[in-house]
């Protein structure tokens, strides 16, 4: 066990993978400087400019070129800087990377990790704050991961780099400094959720930073005599339906909480799946997400978009009729 931050954890995973496999390389803007959040600090000094590649501000080319390089046998780690800028490379990801293996009848593979930092982060306003994970879940061909802890950011990055499918890897910008113990021998199976806290009264399903808020909410609820189970999905495609269904069968109550806009969000998929499986619920489902509005710069307005610990506590109590 080593104590490290969320950003150090994925950096260590990348560093170890690059040491183990010469075909792994990183490509994006300003990587030599560590990129915006220090995810690549020291890697160019260690591996050289040909494996930690500083690129022009050409998101479409970063994504497209990495894909071309993947098809000829390399394993690129693609940095999009902010998930918002990845929208400049939508054709490359959605029409090319996700579809090539299928369209070419299995002739090609795109073993790539596409890193897109997501989420609200101190007055970054509408073009630097989005959480668009549900878009990617909607695209067959992609794996979608949303780690929320240093341990997961280490183990899931390792798994993502080893994966032969294109992986959309969504780190949350607000928790780069989050500290935790990391066991570097721990492997995470892609698609397995993490039960962050056990409980009997209500199931809270979440992911990314909102999973951390959900754990806090569960602690508050415990102080009020309510036992909440927190499931951190970690992976949105494939996702751990079984753990959610088993938990809801036990508790009979469900809260889904995420930072993305609630309308059309992945929370709806979770709720629909529970409904389709006919789980008998003892109370109303609560689904928390951002209102369908835009993230503003002013802090009070930005706060209007947040799902907070208090909101999760309240929602859990509502499922219990309290």
């Amino acid at each position: 066990m080593v104590k490290m931050t969320y950003v150090e954890a994925s950096r260590l995973a990348v560093q170890e993978a690059m040491t183990a496999d010469e075909t792994v390389w990183c490509v994006g803007e300003d990587l030599g400087r560590g990129s915006v959040f220090g995810q690549y600090l020291g890697l160019q000094a260690e591996f050289g400019k040909d494996r930690v590649v500083d690129t022009p501000i050409s998101e479409a080319a970063i994504m497209g070129a990495a894909f071309g390089a993947a098809m000829v046998g390399t394993r690129p780690i693609v940095e999009m800087r902010f998930s918002d800028f990845a929208l400049c490379a939508t054709d490359e990801l959605v029409n090319q990377i996700a579809k090539a293996r299928f369209m070419f009848g299995g002739q090609s593979r795109a073993p790539m990790v596409i890193r897109k930092p997501i989420g609200l982060w101190r007055s970054s306003a509408a073009q630097h704050s989005q959480s668009l994970e549900s878009w990617y879940v909607h695209i067959p061909g992609l794996v979608v991961l949303c780690p929320s802890t240093p341990q997961d950011n280490y183990s899931m990055m390792k798994a993502a780099i080893a994966c032969d499918d294109p992986v959309v890897y969504l780190e949350h910008k607000n928790i780069w400094g989050l500290e935790g113990e990391v066991d570097t021998s721990l492997e995470v199976e892609i698609g397995a959720a993490s039960r962050r806290r056990e409980g009997d009264d209500v199931t809270i399903v979440s992911w990314s930073n909102t999973a951390n808020l959900s754990v806090e909410a569960a602690e508050t609820l415990a102080g009020q005599g309510i036992s909440a189970e927190v499931i951190d999905l970690r992976a949105l495609w494939p996702w751990d339906k079984q753990m959610v269904l088993d938990s809801v069968r036990k508790t009979g109550r469900l809260v889904v909480a995420h930072e993305a806009v609630a309308v059309g969000g992945f929370g709806a998929e979770v709720v629909a799946t529970v409904a389709e499986h006919g789980e008998a619920l003892k109370g109303p489902v609560r689904r928390l997400g951002a209102p369908r509005s835009l993230v503003a710069y002013a802090p009070n307005l930005e706060d209007k978009m947040r799902v907070t610990v208090d909101m999760i506590v309240t929602a859990a109590k509502e499922t219990l009729g309290k």
């Binding site: 080319a61 071309g68 098809m71 794996v143």
Partner: protein, 332 residues
């Protein structure tokens, strides 16, 4: 690779390949219109065969090619099996993509052909990346990316060519300019002095060639390929040609000025021009006729064999999407 241009053997090879490409596409059109066996759109390259034939004579199997929606000729010339290609157009088992891609996604990785593309211009960045990957892996083959004149107005043209330039990659970009972007005359929607100037502005050496002259294309592309193999940086070739058909096999091309197509076909058909070259070299008309009928017979058989092949099994609809979270395990 032997010198091209003034040698009967090579000149004849160019004609053979162009005749085969044309025969393939004529049969593909028959399959679409007469037989109703090709269901999706096909974009014939009839009239543009010189670029495919001329460039591919210089490529080895391990060299990489990327192409466009109008890519049958390039793919065949790179060495793909015409039967696997025709099966693909008909959506059949044994198609080069198992019947899952069709004409616009034709690809044969076994011969280094990494795909046509249904999105105009998209292969420019991908091709630059293939060259980047080759460089990272320390391999010595080269990449050729062919796109249309319309693609030069999309963003990937800037981003992909700049990328190849700054990373000094072993790639030849070819703009196969048939003068039309679907139904629009490309010059009417394109600013500035032209695509070669755009490439030069990004730091590439650019060459312009008569894209209906197979000998000339073979000559200049041979020189460029030699420079690339010698470690030279990325280059650009602007090959000006003309599309004899409409945009797709269903398009009569009626938007073109009256007489334009007839005049171009009469004056500039690359196959007719190559026949004239060979006649001047002393080959007999009977030899030329034999080349023509052999190509026609080959592709007639190809179409018959493709039509006799079954459609893919239903399970293929879920295969080769992804390993983890595959629809074969969970599709909902």
């Amino acid at each position: 690779m032997p010198e091209t241009g003034h040698n009967t053997q090579n000149a004849r090879q160019l004609l053979v390949m162009m005749e085969r490409i044309r025969a393939f596409e004529e049969h593909a059109i028959l399959a679409a219109e007469r037989d109703k066996l090709v269901l999706g759109a096909i974009h014939p390259s009839i009239g543009q065969e010189a670029c495919a034939a001329g460039v591919m004579t210089h490529l080895k199997r391990a060299d990489i090619l990327l192409s466009t929606h109008r890519g049958h000729g390039h793919t065949l010339a790179k060495g793909a099996d015409p039967l696997a290609m025709m099966r693909e157009l008909l959506g059949r088992t044994g198609g080069c993509c198992g019947g899952k891609g069709g004409s616009m996604h034709i690809a044969d990785f076994g011969v280094g052909m990494l795909g046509a593309n249904g999105v105009v211009g998209a292969n420019i960045t991908i091709a630059a990346g293939a060259a980047h990957g080759i460089k990272i892996l320390g391999q010595d083959h080269i990449v050729v990316d062919i796109f249309g004149d319309g693609a030069a107005n999309r963003g990937p043209f800037l981003e992909g060519i700049n990328w190849a330039s700054v990373f000094d990659l072993p790639i030849l970009f070819i703009c196969e300019d048939n003068q039309y972007s679907a139904t629009t005359r490309t010059s009417s929607v394109t600013g500035g002095p032209g695509v070669a100037a755009r490439a030069e502005a990004l730091g590439l050496r650019a060459t312009v060639v008569d894209g209906n002259d197979a000998e000339a294309v073979a000559q200049v592309s041979g020189e460029i390929v030699a420079r690339l193999r010698g470690g030279g940086g990325p280059e650009f070739l602007h090959a000006v040609t003309y599309r004899h058909t409409g945009h797709t096999s269903f398009d009569p091309g009626a938007y073109r000025p009256e007489g334009e197509a007839d005049k171009e076909i009469a004056a500039n058909d690359p196959i007719a021009r190559q026949r004239a070259v060979l006649l001047a070299m002393g080959l007999g008309q009977d030899v030329l006729d034999a080349i023509h009928s052999e190509a026609q017979a080959e592709m007639e058989q190809v179409l018959a064999d493709a039509a006799a092949t079954p459609f893919p099994p239903d399970e293929a609809a879920f295969a080769d999407v992804q390993d983890i979270g595959s629809p074969m395990q969970e599709a909902y």
